[in-house]
């Protein structure tokens, strides 16, 4: 972790240089974690798409935000150069499963919906 900080601060190297697995493995880990998170979310009976209207929906679904959370958390592990076994594949699968579980069971507890569900915080005056 401190190698990463020194590299960033003193040598001006961008973060990809700090990751010890190859870029193909990084790409594979991202794809695996997205697919696993979507599949586990579908197994947990989350809908594939949010309710209509699509663009103003607070509902969670399998396509959004599950893969976003999964790849975001995987990025934290990658830039800290913590990639466990098999070039990060185990880590990718574990993060995919955990983020799907988080979206299904904990998401509404962590980010509660606003009182007026349809229109966000906007209140007609």
């Amino acid at each position: 972790m401190f190698d990463f900080m020194f590299g960033t601060i003193f040598y001006g190297s961008y973060g990809l240089n700090n990751i010890s697995i190859s870029s193909l493995d990084i790409l594979l880990a991202y794809i695996v974690t997205m697919i696993v998170s979507i599949l586990v979310a579908l197994i947990l009976r989350l809908p594939l798409l949010p309710n209509k209207p699509y663009r103003y929906s607070f509902d969670v679904s399998a396509l959004y935000p599950t893969p976003i959370i999964a790849i975001g958390i995987l990025s934290i592990f990658l830039v800290l150069n913590y990639t466990f076994m098999y070039n990060g594949l185990i880590l990718a699968i574990v993060i995919g499963v955990l983020s799907a579980l988080f979206v299904k069971y904990l998401f509404d507890f962590v980010f509660p919906k606003p009182l007026n569900e349809d229109k966000g915080e906007d209140i007609d005056e």
């Binding site: 990751i19 990084i26 663009r55 103003y56 959004y64 790849i71 975001g72 958390i73 906007d122």
Partner: protein, 165 residues
Amino acid sequence: MNEVIGIIIAAVLCWLNFVIVDTYFGLPEQPGVRGARIVGSDVEKRGGDIAGGFFQGNVLCSPDASAGTLIASIGFMLLGIPGGILAAFLVFIGNRLCADPGYAGTIGSLTATVIIFLTSFIGLKPEMFIVGMVIAILTIQGLDQVRASVVLGKIAKKFNRHARE
């Protein structure tokens, strides 16, 4: 690449990225958060366009594609492509903390990451995108809010996302 030319190109790319993504995901259509309605009606009172006003209010009040582009450039500068993806995750959390149902922030930062990665092959650096994004937001919010809102309203009409349809 020369820094000044790079910053100008980056500013144009950032402007197009966040205006197109924001307009497509319906920022001019309705105020997603409470403050956006106040900004929009105030801009309209001063002779501007209501859809452009909603756009400016949404940009001001909650993270959307403009904040996403800025944070993605900073993340890319520090951490490379994982930094850009991390920015999308952070913008999503910010959206939910603001009680904003929008999708524009996360999608905007992911597209910004792709744009920065692709243009890095022709010599544009992520630092140029940070400066360019600040300039792009200045043209929307800082120089002349009323005229900017008229331009944004015309763009919203082209995308069929105008508030008064």
